[in-house]
Symmetry: C2
Subunit: 441 residues, 2 copies
């Protein structure tokens, strides 16, 4: 009673996945029941680090997802197409699906899960967020009794590596990025990572699971780390913060539950040094979940890499196989469609309401270059006050010639108010420029 696996893709993750299946010793006994039945690749000629029986390898990926013998299709080719079409066709043919593809799920999750619910199959995606760190399954299963209030984390290893090096070396973004690209920690086109798009995909997926509704990716507010300077990191350090790219999804507590909206956003953030996420460095990822009644729990580990990602992919396969064993032990329902495990399946269909970023209430950090006119701090303070922006600290430093640098940190304020104040301040004669504004936890 084995389970036939159709593996789409034999890159780093696909190879890592196949290696686990071919080496079941000391793993859960169920691994032995997963049969690597078909492997779909782009080219049969490419040299591989893994030897597979040639008869199971094919370039015809569509033949795998339509093969009646295949039980579980594993999609690790990445990208939007043909991944989306292959996943949908696999579902249409009654296959369960395991995928590591955050980009496809964040964009096409609605049609994929609608199709899966209709077909009575599972689509599992632990590897899509946090590499091998268990976070999707804990949200679905171990924490399912909780009312989740917030999910936040460091979910992109490349930007965390860059920010950690900037912090440790006092270096500027462009220099560290170039070095990270040379070392293979950042891609030649770093857009998806450094502009926060990858993190946005991941927080959209986490928000959907945490709050039991669909998320429109276009409504996720997203800012990257290109504008972070060595100066900002140094000021943050002095004020007791580190700067991290944080992805956040939380219930907007200002609104009643009737009209509940979510905040879902990705941006560089000043994190207090005492916060559990502050000490997550280098390529590591961590996800913090706040729920009632659990309080705060955090999951920490390697957020990428062949091994960790393959760990999640194969674990998902095993979870499907385990449920199928329960099901197959019994006979099918009259209508032929098996009931899905309501914790593992994703059956929510409504879209969550996302609050506009102007409604956000948060602390801000801002840095101003001023012509050192006496009274400029007074003018700043008055203008902020007029817009109900109260200041937690104001630091004036580095007077050079007639230019001074002023850094302010606000209390929790409405983002819209802060932006209005900022627009007025920008127009002041005494203000030379506003090199940076950042949100703080």
């Amino acid at each position: 009673m084995g389970f036939k696996i159709g593996l789409l893709g034999l890159g780093t993750v696909g190879t890592g996945t196949a290696k686990i299946l071919l080496d079941p010793v000391q793993r859960h006994p169920l691994v032995k029941e997963l049969e690597l039945y078909r492997v779909g690749v782009k080219s049969l000629e490419k040299p591989r680090s893994l030897e597979l029986p040639p008869e199971i390898v094919t370039t015809d990926l569509e033949a795998i997802v339509t093969d009646p013998a295949v039980d579980i299709v594993v999609e690790v080719i990445g990208g939007l197409e043909p991944a989306r079409s292959l996943i949908l066709k696999a579902i249409e043919h009654g296959k369960h699906v395991v995928t590591a593809n955050k980009a496809a799920i964040a964009r096409f999750g609605d049609e994929i899960f609608t199709a899966a619910t209709k077909a009575g199959v599972y689509v599992l995606l632990e590897a899509a967020v946090g590499g091998g760190i268990p976070v999707i399954e804990p949200l679905k299963q171990s924490l399912c009794s909780n009312r989740i209030n917030a999910v936040m984390g460091i979910v992109n290893g490349t930007t965390n590596y860059i920010l950690t090096r900037m912090q440790n070396e006092g270096a500027d973004f462009a220099d560290v990025l170039a070095d990270a690209q040379r070392l293979g920690y950042a891609e030649a086109d770093p857009t998806a990572d450094v502009d926060g798009l990858d993190a946005a995909d991941k927080i959209a997926i986490l928000a959907s699971l945490a709050f039991g509704g669909r998320i429109k990716l276009s409504e996720v507010h997203c800012e990257g780390i290109r504008q972070i300077s060595a100066a900002d990191i140094a000021y943050a350090e002095k004020l007791g913060f580190v700067i991290k790219l944080i992805a956040i999804a939380k219930r907007d507590s200002q609104l009643s539950s009737e009209l509940e909206q979510l905040q879902v956003r990705v941006h560089p953030t000043l994190v207090p040094k005492t916060h559990p996420l502050a000490s997550v460095n280098d390529v590591y990822n961590a996800i913090l979940i706040e729920g009632d009644p659990i309080g705060q729990v955090m999951f920490f580990g390697p957020g990428a890499g062949a091994g960790p990602t393959a760990s999640a992919v194969v674990s998902d396969m095993l979870n499907i196989a385990a449920i199928l064993k329960v099901e197959r032990g019994n006979s099918k329902q009259a209508n032929g469609t098996p009931l899905l495990d309501p914790l593992l399946a994703c059956s929510h269909q409504h879209y969550c309401a996302i609050a506009p970023i102007a409604e956000l209430s948060t602390r801000f950090y801002a840095r101003f270059l001023t012509k050192d006119t006496p009274g400029v701090i007074g003018k700043l303070g008055t203008c902020f006050g007029n817009h109900e922006v109260s200041l937690e600290s104001v630091v004036q430093t580095d007077v050079r010639g007639d230019v001074a640098e002023i850094v302010v940190v606000t209390h929790d304020v409405r983002e819209g108010n802060f932006r209005q104040a900022l627009a007025e301040i920008q127009a002041m004669d005494a203000i030379a420029s506003i090199p940076s504004t950042l949100r703080a936890l």
Copy 2:
């Protein structure tokens, strides 16, 4: 199609559990299908913070575990008896069981799981380790593709609170313990916590899950924190360590897989400040899991308390209910016993071999009080060398009159060799006493 819950115990955890069931809004929809059907208490007269319909509350716990209508029995009375007998009777009557009882599972897990396998029911115990922190289910499900090499963690909040305060305040054990008792962080009889017995129960459970075999609790090496002094914490600090009570289960890498043995142990440990467990303070718990291919992942959160523990208890109920929905959607097997989900069930029956502590290979810290004879460091070094104990650092400090204090940290050495060297050193004329020896990560 609801699920009838028989709750045994209405203390803090029982009350927290009932509160979740009575307040399902914004939780997983499946919570609404859990019906609080019977609640067993010791006394009907005791005032409660929770109002329950009087007809569901009873002092007849046995009537609950034998009631044909009950689907899931939740044991949160704690202690060994009558908890063990009630769990066994519930299983015998075909009930699934959820328990938070680490003491009963660590001692009677073999008979409980043998009975559960025979009866075809689940016994889930997420709350038994780490309070609400998901760790049991991630080990069973999210990490099931891995070959687990080590599980280690801070799994007792009371001792972590005491050690954190000793560290921060430079205070001695007895003073902090007394204050912790006054504040309710330590019990009047603190034995189970400060002598490491509670942590031993928990690591026995984790080891059993991680390595797929049963663990004899009597073979778990266990040392508590009573002998830790402010002086040791201060020396550890200088050498770059913090002292934590660490529970460890790992494969013994010195042996071939044919004769594989495990190390399972609890003891105060010097943890390098850069280690992820070093910054886990106060009553927080954290569990670090090392596996192939995942590498290291860590789970962090509140290790106790009504809310977190109830979160785990209700999540376990929901996981059982979810599987039952899949099962009930189909008809029973011919023989009447449903097949169990092989990831959620615990079906291993062999006992793991545990290596004797003398075979352990680890780093050691030792503090010696010496009569300040010239050449005493040479004598120590020679004696250690004769027993193949190589030293990483030797620090001589605090010469007061004719007494000096010497602290050594060794490289990884065999514990048996270290103890032999220590016995010889103890007999030296130049050595006044050896106030402490501790293992280091």
